[in-house]
């Protein structure tokens, strides 16, 4: 465990969708340069946690601090300007925008973002597709586009929601490789995943989420030895 100051600290986070209480005191932290996953069954509250950090879920209680300062009281549109990027579940590619417009949509919030050439090098499939409507891309390409547009903004802390959902194994490998590149560039990633093999191939630590609370923390090195424990949580 890193003892130095964490980049993100979430403590006793409660969150609601309207009347329904979804997060019941999530507590976890993420250090700079780490890839940390939130594992858990459907409906455990993983996606809601990311949405609560971004401020998409407004009704929250508890503390979320980023680089030592509270972000729960920030207006939603200010959060990305801290350098936090969000790649949502279902990818969020806009059908009325073409690939280039989708790529250029999020404003650059910090210096140090990837240039278009670097992005095409990382995701060659996106090259030459500028004028294609965003949702005409294949599922894997849309996922790459969703990641690529955040890399362009200069965000160095990225919330990534189920990037492998519904994708073919070959594409999953490509996305895993691209995340490795991002890690080498020093980016910090919080990853929500159901695909254990994928998660194990890139993450440093895993948090297990059940019914809106973190119930366990597993370092990636001991993951193989903890498979029984994990499977009982995930019910696979």
């Amino acid at each position: 465990m890193r003892e130095q100051q964490h980049l993100l600290e979430v403590s006793n986070l409660n969150g609601w969708y309207g009347e329904s209480h979804v997060l019941h005191g999530m507590t976890f932290n993420v250090g700079a340069g780490e890839i940390v996953t939130l594992l858990g069954r459907n409906g455990a509250g993983k996606t809601t946690t990311l949405r609560a950090i971004m401020g998409v879920v407004r009704k929250r209680r508890g503390a979320i601090t980023y680089k030592g300062s509270d972000i729960i009281s920030l207006p939603q549109h200010k959060v990305p300007w801290l350098g936090i990027g969000y790649v949502p579940e279902e990818r969020g590619i806009f059908a009325t925008l073409n690939v280039l417009e989708n790529l250029m949509l999020p404003p650059v919030t910090q210096s140090g973002g990837m240039g278009i050439d670097d992005i095409y090098q990382l995701f060659p499939n996106l090259r030459g597709r500028d004028q294609t409507p965003g949702t005409r891309l294949s599922g894997g390409e849309q996922q790459m586009l969703a990641i690529a547009r955040i890399l362009r903004t200069g965000a160095d802390f990225i919330l990534l929601d189920e990037p492998t959902e519904g994708l073919a194994p070959v594409i999953v490998e490509e996305i895993a490789a691209s995340l490795q590149v991002l890690k080498q560039r020093g980016l910090t990633i919080v990853l929500v995943e159901q695909n254990l093999r994928f998660a194990a191939s890139i993450a440093d630590r895993h948090y297990v989420v059940e019914q809106g609370v973190v119930v366990d923390e597993i370092a990636n090195e001991v993951l193989p030895a903890s498979m029984d424990r994990l499977n009982s949580y995930l019910g696979v």
Partner: protein, 295 residues
């Protein structure tokens, strides 16, 4: 002179010109309505009232402040846009999450109140607005006489429609707007202040209505009822073009103006209902409108 189906060519062209002018106003108004519907999900029944406000803004600016026609083409939309900001921030914003019907009723109420207020202040009768001197003449095209002001109305409204279309379809700001229409919360999560953007969108669109009102002032008279006479047809235009489709609103506005003009020549008694007949036919064949996307 030549005749077409027993109608003199000049008469036909004259009516087509009138139709094109009406169509220009339809286009300007339905463009704003379509954007407001697309982005804010609001059926803005106050649009006609904002058009009327634009006419009165130009009139009052001229009579009491001595502001002439040309500056009032900027002043009137700005004034109307400011009122739009107030209406959106104070009232409309609270209804976004509710059914369309609430914002429809609200804007309808706003329209009635504005119309009533201006009836009270200015009376129901139309007030004339002088033709700007530079555009008082006309051009003899050989086969017909084209009044300069009418030509200007067509050019100006087409120009404004084109610029608006370009801004929305081809610029970065437009991409924000289109994206926010699809998924406002994600656009917000990219760091864009969507509520402010929606306020400005509403202000801009009602400002367009104000511009149309100022443009109409010298052509028709300025009266409190000028908007409500027009708004029903403009809504038909939006429905025919496809709710929320920008290009649809412009093309449909112009073509319906022309169709109306043609019916005036060939079946004068049907001219008042021509637009609605087209609407019925379009809704039967393409329920989402000519340019609309299925939802």
């Amino acid at each position: 002179m030549t005749e077409i189906f027993g109608v003199p060519f000049a008469v036909l062209l004259g009516q087509l010109l009138l139709g094109l002018i009406n169509g220009s106003f339809y286009a300007l108004l339905s463009l704003g309505l379509a954007i407001i519907f697309g982005m804010l999900n609001v059926i803005n029944f106050a649009h006609g009232a904002f058009y009327m406000l634009g006419g009165f803004a130009a009139l009052v600016a001229f009579n009491t402040l001595g502001i002439g026609y040309w500056p009032s083409l900027i002043v009137a939309p700005l004034a109307v846009g400011l009122i739009g900001v107030v209406v959106e921030k104070l009232l409309l914003r609270h209804l976004y999450k509710m059914d369309h019907l609430y914002s429809l009723l609200l804007t309808f109420g706003v329209a009635l109140m504005l119309e009533g207020l201006f009836r009270h202040l200015f009376g129901s009768a139309g007030k004339p607005y002088p033709l700007p001197e530079a555009l008082s003449g006309g051009i003899n095209l050989g086969f017909m006489f084209l009044p300069a002001y009418r030509a200007w109305v067509i050019v100006a409204s087409l120009g404004v429609c084109l610029v608006t279309w370009y801004a929305i379809e081809r610029t970065r700001l437009g991409a924000y707007l289109r994206a926010a229409t699809e998924n406002p919360s994600l656009v917000q999560a990219f760091g864009i202040n969507v509520p402010v953007m929606l306020t400005l969108t509403y202000a801009f669109c009602v400002g367009l209505a104000g511009f149309a009102g100022a443009l109409a002032a010298p052509l028709y008279q300025v009266s409190p009822g000028m908007g409500s006479n027009l708004i029903i047809i403009v809504f038909a235009v939006v429905v025919i073009g496809g709710m929320g489709s920008i290009i649809g609103a412009v093309v449909t506005g112009l073509s319906l103006g022309l169709i109306e003009g043609l019916t005036k020549v060939f079946v004068p008694s049907a001219s008042a209902i021509a637009v609605f007949l087209v609407m019925v036919a379009v809704l039967l064949l393409r329920p989402s409108g000519l340019f609309g996307r299925e939802r």
